[in-house]
């Protein structure tokens, strides 16, 4: 499994125009000036796989995740939507299709919708399927900006639990 493509509309600094990014399978480096939206792109991935805490996407509340804008340079969005196109040829996600498309959308009053290959499903269905493939928004494989030093600050019991979950 890997992320083939992401489509973003109205999520954080991504405006009303749909932005799509094709990712290659190996080592992808994201570059750009300060404030351009690099961390927001990574937040979009974690949002797509079901991240619940707005704070860990550096937002005060869910409505902060929806694109707002200065009057004039574009209308504020009414909803934020992210679609992740996951390559599933190895069938690590227990779904019988070569590509698994996960879509998550939230609107201004915080109501959220999840879709799996176009069909509306519950959040827990998505989370269970992804967990079976070792994908979780809070996994040890997700390092937000400035948090690389937090890894070794985990206590001994937390490290042990990490190993237990991997086993």
């Amino acid at each position: 499994v890997y992320i083939k493509k992401i489509a973003i509309r109205g999520f954080k600094s991504f405006g009303n125009r749909k932005v799509t990014v094709n990712f290659s399978k190996g080592f992808v480096v994201v570059v750009g000036p300060n404030g351009s939206g690099k961390s927001n792109l990574l937040d979009a991935i974690r949002f797509g796989i079901g991240m619940l805490s707005a704070k860990s996407m550096r937002a005060g509340s869910f409505s902060d995740l929806i694109f707002y804008s200065k009057s004039g340079s574009g209308r504020a969005a009414k909803y934020a939507a992210v679609s992740l196109y996951l390559d599933n040829t190895d069938r690590r996600i227990p779904v019988n299709s070569d590509t698994v498309i996960i879509t998550r959308q939230i609107d201004l009053d915080g109501k959220g919708v999840y879709r799996l290959n176009g069909r509306t499903v519950s959040r827990s269905q998505i989370v269970d399927l992804l967990e079976a493939a070792g994908i979780s928004p809070d996994g040890y494989n997700m390092i937000p900006q400035g948090e690389i030093l937090e890894v070794i600050r985990k206590g001994p019991v937390e490290i042990r639990r990490l190993f237990e979950n991997i086993a």
Binding site: V1, Y2, I3, K12, S13, G15, N16, R17, V19, V21, N22, F23, S24, K25, G26, F27, V28, V29, V30, V31, G32, S36, G37, K38, S39, N40, L41, L42, I45, R46, F67, S69, S73, G74, L86, A133, G134, I135, Y140, N141, M142, I143, P144, Q145, G146, E147, I148, L149, V151, I152, G155, P156, V157, E158, I159, R160, L162, F163, I166, A167
Partner: protein, 162 residues
């Protein structure tokens, strides 16, 4: 249950020792079980020392040394049981040029079994990438383009009202 845990523990430790000494040549590292007889009643302590040093506790390490030790732990787990993808934001912020390029070399190797999507401001990291994705802020919103793209794609993605 105890045996499964211990075999995972020893396998990850073996990777950790090897990765730490490749990222920090001459250094050595290990895990210590707080209670070897009953691992579930205690935790796992990480010990690591760069070459020629004896680190009493990880908190005494420098910013760069802590980053290297953290990454060695993550990569040791990756080698044992690769997650599908790794999303990492400026993990090289505190690394000097030599450590940045060692980490980038290692990620390149590990990216054969997992996808790595890494934000970086450092040239040493960009150089080793399979793909570079540029993000920019234009006309009041963010847009994304692949560095090898031509200008036309940039216009499509980023032109006009957002």
């Amino acid at each position: 249950k105890r045996n499964t845990f211990l075999s995972t523990f020893y396998a990850i430790e073996k990777n950790f020792k090897q990765i730490f000494s490749s990222l920090s040549p001459g250094g050595n590292a290990r895990f210590v079980l707080e209670n070897p007889l009953d691992p579930f009643s205690g935790g796992v302590i990480i010990e690591a020392s760069p070459a020629g040093k004896e680190i009493k506790r990880l908190e005494l390490m420098s910013g760069g040394e802590k980053s290297i030790t953290s990454l060695a732990l993550i990569f040791a787990i990756q080698q044992y049981h690769p997650a599908p993808f790794y999303i990492m934001d400026e993990i090289d912020a505190f690394l000097d040029e030599q450590n940045s390029s060692r980490v980038a070399d290692l990620i390149k190797e590990l990216s054969r079994t997992s996808q790595f999507i890494v934000v970086s401001l450092k040239k040493a990291t960009m150089k080793k990438a399979d793909q570079i994705i540029g993000v920019t802020y234009m006309n009041g919103s963010s847009c994304v383009f692949s560095i090898d793209a031509n200008l036309k794609q940039l216009e499509e993605q980023c032109g006009g009202e957002g």
